[in-house]
Every structure is written in C-alpha cells, then in structure tokens.
C-alpha cells in the first residue's frame, strides 16, 4: 500500500469513528463524507472507490438500496473525475466541493429537514469543511 493510501485510510477511520461516536450522543455530523470529498483530490480512482464503498458499508442503516448512500459514495468519485479534467487550487476546491456536496446530499436525503433546523445543516457544513481541511493538510505532505 502507498503511504498516501494508508494516511487516507487513517484519516477516514478517525472521521468514521468520531462520526459514529458523536451520533451515539445525538450529534450528527457528516465527517466521513467531508473527508471522502477531500481525499478525492489526492487518491487514485480505485483507492477512492474502495474507501467510499467502505464508508457506505459502515453507514448503511437499512437492508435496501438508498439514494443517500449512493450519492455519498458516488459524489467523491465524481469530484475526482472533475478534478482530473480541470485541476485547480485544491485549498479552494475542497470547501467548494464540500458545500456543493452537503447541499446536494440534503436535497437527495430530505430537503424538508433544512427548514426544520437550518442551524443543524450549517453546523454540519462547518464541521465538514474543518474536517476536509484536516484531511487536506494530512495528505498534502504525503
């Protein structure tokens, strides 16, 4: 395994454990989704796909296909392909991709939830950008 892939796996594991731990306490943050989006700028497609499927496997909550999980695994792969086509400043693209991804995930999952508690969405988004940058700094030097 490459050093970059191992670091990515570690960063994703940390975000998944923290996300599950916080969810058990009633705080729902999509840290692993944000980390996956950040990893899309550093990993090969196959590496990213493997990690995305791993996240979908752990976060799955029902014995049926889910548009939410398909988006969660597919969006980082799409970002990866877009970045390969049009590479730009990663430190700007990461928060932009996270904002677009979180907003799209909201509309895929339950658009009505935004009106019910917009503060939760913005808190989630802020934590996501923070984690995206953490993953960025972890991998930028690898």
């Amino acid at each position: 395994m490459t050093r970059k892939f191992l670091l990515a796996f570690l960063a994703l594991s940390v975000s998944l454990v923290l996300q599950a731990w916080l969810a058990g306490a009633g705080i729902f943050l999509d840290l692993s989704f944000a980390t996956l989006i950040a990893l899309a700028f550093f990993l090969d497609f196959l590496e990213l796909l493997t990690l995305a499927l791993g996240v979908a496997f752990v976060l799955n909550w029902q014995p049926a296909p889910s548009a939410t999980l398909a988006f969660l695994a597919g969006y980082p792969c799409l970002i990866h392909l877009l970045y390969r086509l049009a590479p730009w400043q990663i430190w700007i693209m990461i928060p932009a991709a996270i904002v677009v991804g979180f907003t799209a995930l909201l509309f895929v999952a339950a658009p009505g939830s935004f009106a019910a508690a917009p503060g939760l969405f913005f808190g989630d988004l802020f934590a996501g950008i923070l984690f995206g940058y953490l993953a960025f700094f972890s991998l930028a030097r690898a």
Partner: protein, 222 residues
C-alpha cells in the same frame, strides 16, 4: 510509487460492495460497536478490563430488561438494530419485519409513549420514522380540552394548527388521534406556546420523556 497491484483494490471494492448489498448487518454491527453505547471489549490486556466490560454488559442487559414494557397480545416487541446516520432524517431499523406480521403505518411505542410509525417493512426488519424526522406529521389532541393539533416532526418537533381559543398550559399531555393508530397514546408534553407566523393559530414547543438515542427496545402495535 504504487507497491500493490490494482486488482487488490478491485477485489476489496467488490468485497465491500457484496457486503453492502448481501450482508448489510455486518455494517450495522460495526457502527454499533463504534458508538458510545457499545460495551464490547476490544482490549484483552487484563482481567480488570474484562471485568469492567462484563459489568458494563450486565448493566446494558439490565437496562434492556428495564426497558422491556409489559407486552400485550396487541403489541410486538422489537430491538433497535440500526439508526439513520445523518441529521437529515430520524429513522430506526427494528429486528422484526413482514415475517412477524409488521405492516407499514403501525404505531411504535417506547415505555407506552408513541415514538414513531413503521414507514417501510422488509422480510426480517422494519424501518421506523420517528417523531424527530422532518417529514413526520401526526394529528393529535392536547390536554383535557382535547384541542386538535398537528405534530410536525424535526430536530425540534412542534404542535401546530391549534385554534387560538385553546387554553393550553405547560405540562398538558399531547396524545395520538390519527386514523390507523391506537387512540390516546401519549406523545409529548407542552412546554410553551406561541402564535404561528401567519398569526392564525397557536403552536406549542414540546418536551419528550425519553432520549431517543438510548432507546433499545420498542413495541409495535399490531
């Protein structure tokens, strides 16, 4: 420089996809293991640690036993398998499904309190949309006066569409009054009231007598 063959990753990805579709409960178990409620021992360094874990498991079993309500023939007991992992919805996956006679729309209670409705049924599992889901809506009545209202779910559920003449007080019980559900199941209590944004109705903030994150056993109305 890559030091592994791409086929390794292809095999990993295929295995994960197969697990995701064919054995999803391994993922639920893994996530439950990561959550703070988990008491499974991952450190076998010493007997003291094992003893602590056993004590914790005993406490968890006692908690589950304490949560088990007096099941009547009209209710089916179920355990919570998994929970919706994002903040967009609020759903629980239960360990009973169509093979046990669970049907979509049935009421789900915890300690006699209505916490949600069965929204989707699988062969051996059922998905519950809880009161804290933003798409949840339930006709209810409030207090001794029996004022009609509509509970609108979300992170902070409210009782809405209450007539302005309703005399509501903090502590008034809100109970179910919806077709297809048992009448009179308690749902929440009124905390405070305010006028709706359109100035036509009263709305009430609610308090709930349970923490949904700690609920492990429920009853499904049959």
């Amino acid at each position: 420089m890559r030091t592994y063959h791409p086929w390794v990753l292809i095999v990993y990805a295929a295995a994960l996809a197969a697990l995701l579709f064919l054995r999803p409960w391994y993922g639920w178990t893994l996530r439950a293991w990561l959550a703070p409620l988990s008491t499974r021992d991952t450190d076998s360094a010493g007997l003291a640690a094992a003893n602590e874990a056993l004590k914790a498991e005993l406490a968890q079993v006692a908690k589950v036993a304490a949560e088990l309500p007096q099941a009547s023939p009209h209710y089916l007991r179920a355990m919570v398998y998994s929970r919706y992992p994002f903040n967009f919805k609020n759903e629980l996956l239960l360990n009973v499904g169509s093979s046990e006679g669970v049907v979509t729309g049935h009421a789900v209670t915890f300690q006699g309190i209505l916490i949600g409705r069965v929204s989707r049924v699988f062969a051996d599992t059922a998905l519950v949309q809880t009161v804290f889901d933003s798409d949840f809506k339930l006709p209810v009545r409030i207090g001794a006066g029996g004022y009609d209202a509509l509970i609108v779910g979300g992170a902070y559920p409210k009782a809405e569409s209450i007539v302005k003449s309703a005399a509501l007080h903090a502590g008034d019980v809100i109970y179910s009054a919806a077709p297809g559900l048992p009448y009179g199941l308690p749902v929440a209590e009124v905390v405070s009231t305010s006028t709706s944004p359109d100035n036509l109705f009263i709305q009430a903030d609610l308090s709930f007598a349970y923490d949904l994150n700690t609920v492990q056993t429920v009853l499904i109305a049959q």
